[in-house]
């Protein structure tokens, strides 16, 4: 795979007028990200306020997933700084790096990555045990509540292989939110779904995301998803932010 095609910076899709600079809120995300991988350089600034949903829109190879991995703590920055709710998560200049397992960040991966050997309930309970240190029994009860809340309470006994795309998305969101993250990352939340399920899940996310107090960052290649789900869009092309829409 090539690391992004160098395109004209104002390709029609991503043309947006400049908007007012977002005010970084106390509980929000403030990230200045620079990551180099050979020829490819990702340089982007992202601010997401509490309760705000921001979409990062870009084609395959634009660096969206790299950005998501740095924010999740799966990939360290080469330069820059990531702070979340005032806490420094990554700052190479100060040799500070909080690894993924100690970051209050929830991730819904693009094909969900629900553990195939665990039932839906235990997938959700996994994070409650790992991050919040809850006992197995307590974690399972909480997990049931989370599944209930997202309308999949009757599917707790199923393994991920027996879930539909839309159901998997709900379980994955429950799993990510159950750990009480202070930042939620969604990686191509609708890409794995067929067109019917897509509309249903989009509507579902549209009702859930505004109720969250944590900042939400969505990575997507689909302008419609960005438009419908996010308050604001950052267009990314060949590792650079092209324009920010208010």
């Amino acid at each position: 795979m090539t690391a992004g095609t160098p395109g004209t910076p104002h390709a029609g899709l991503f043309e947006h007028g400049p908007g007012p600079a977002p005010a970084p809120a106390a509980g929000g995300l403030d990230a200045r990200v620079t990551v180099r991988r050979g020829q490819f350089v990702l340089t982007v600034d992202v601010q997401v306020a509490q309760g705000e949903t921001v979409a990062v829109l870009g084609r395959s190879g634009a660096g969206k997933s790299t950005l998501l991995r740095t924010l999740a703590g799966l990939l360290p920055l080469d330069e820059g700084r990531v702070t979340l709710a005032g806490q420094v998560l990554d700052d190479p200049a100060q040799r500070r790096f909080v690894p993924s397992e100690r970051r209050p960040v929830g991730v819904v991966f693009q094909d969900y990555l629900l553990f195939p050997h665990l039932r839906a309930r235990d997938n959700v309970a996994f994070g409650l045990q790992a991050r919040l240190g809850q006992s197995r029994r307590h974690a399972r009860d909480r997990a049931e509540e989370w599944l209930e809340r997202f309308g999949v309470g009757d599917l707790g006994d199923r393994r991920p292989g027996a879930l539909s795309g839309g159901q998997g998305q709900r379980v994955a969101l429950a799993r990510a939110l159950a750990t009480e993250p202070r930042l939620l990352l969604l990686d191509e939340p609708l890409a794995a779904l067929d067109s019917t399920t897509r509309g249903e899940v989009r509507a579902f996310l549209r009702t859930v995301l505004p109720t969250l107090s944590a900042p939400v960052l969505i990575v997507t290649h689909d302008p419609t998803d960005a438009e419908v789900l996010a308050d604001r869009t950052i267009a990314l092309e060949a590792g650079q932010a092209v324009a920010t829409e208010a």
């Binding site: 690391a3 703590g73 990939l75 050997h117």
Partner: protein
């Protein structure tokens, strides 16, 4: 048609074995002292060889699959060598290394008074040498094709490396460990060439079932057939156990690989490179 011939060719010897079996005398033959001795020796040594293979083979499989060090490809080739090496050659090699005059064996004898060849321990060593690669190859393959993004997912849920290994990595390759151990055990059970070369053929200490079959064939054909039937029964049992355990596992491994190769992941890889 050629397929039918192949199937017939594979089936015929087994039919021959079953037809020629001295069914009426079978209970007596099988319960004979020598037979029981050889059977139990075989079961014990094959189980010990499998245990050794699990203990040392899984860490080696993990090293081969998850770490990068100089000479890794060479090591991988060496590990798989016993799979294709004639077992007799393996036996000779073991003799030269661990025999009384072998490079290591001599020291073991001089310093500790330990002699490995022509002992039951020698049988276990010969079997481990031949059978361990089956386990290593099986587990390494599973670790390689296991989707490592599940480990990322575990980390984002707050699981440290040890919890991730215990609750995600190991359960996801468990079917391959079971399958590998079963193959390893079956291979150890049938081991002949390396055993007879390195450990000899001493009833009670090194005469395992395959050796007993060979020995009996020269003196008492009926006994040889009876012993063969016992081995056949054990192998069929292992195969049945494998069918139940292995195939769901193989499916799971494949599913993991399919998930990893979805086109959008290429974005992540492109970004990293």
């Amino acid at each position: 048609m050629p397929g039918a011939i192949a199937a017939l060719f594979l089936l015929l010897p087994l039919v021959g074995l079953l037809v020629r079996a001295p069914w009426s005398g079978l209970p007596d033959l099988i319960t004979e002292h020598d037979v029981r001795e050889a059977l139990f020796l075989s079961l014990e040594t094959a189980t010990a060889a499998t245990a050794l293979s699990l203990l040392f083979g899984i860490p080696l499989a993990w090293l081969l699959a998850r770490t990068r060090f100089p000479g890794r490809s060479l090591l991988r080739a060496l590990v798989t060598l016993p799979l294709v090496l004639p077992p007799v050659v393996g036996g000779v090699a073991l003799l030269l290394a661990l025999g009384r005059r072998g490079i290591v064996g001599q020291r073991l004898d001089d310093w500790f008074g330990i002699t490995l060849p022509f002992t039951t321990v020698g049988v276990v060593i010969a079997q481990t040498f031949v059978a361990m690669p089956f386990l290593i190859v099986s587990v390494e393959g599973a670790l390689n094709s296991a989707d490592r993004r599940f480990e990322d997912a575990a980390a984002t849920l707050g699981a440290g490396p040890w919890m991730t290994f215990r609750r995600v990595t190991v359960p996801m390759v468990a079917p391959a460990v079971t399958a590998g151990a079963a193959l390893c055990w079956a291979r150890a059970l049938g081991e002949f060439g390396a055993t007879i070369t390195f450990a000899g053929n001493f009833p009670g200490t090194t005469t395992t079932m395959p050796l007993a079959v060979y020995l009996a064939l020269e003196t008492d054909t009926d006994a040889a057939i009876a012993l063969s039937l016992v081995l056949l029964a054990v192998c069929v049992a292992v195969l049945l156990a494998l069918r139940a355990r292995w195939f769901p596992g193989a499916r799971r491994v494949l599913r993991g690989r399919a998930a990893r190769e979805t086109p959008l992941t290429a974005d992540a890889e492109a970004g990293i490179r």
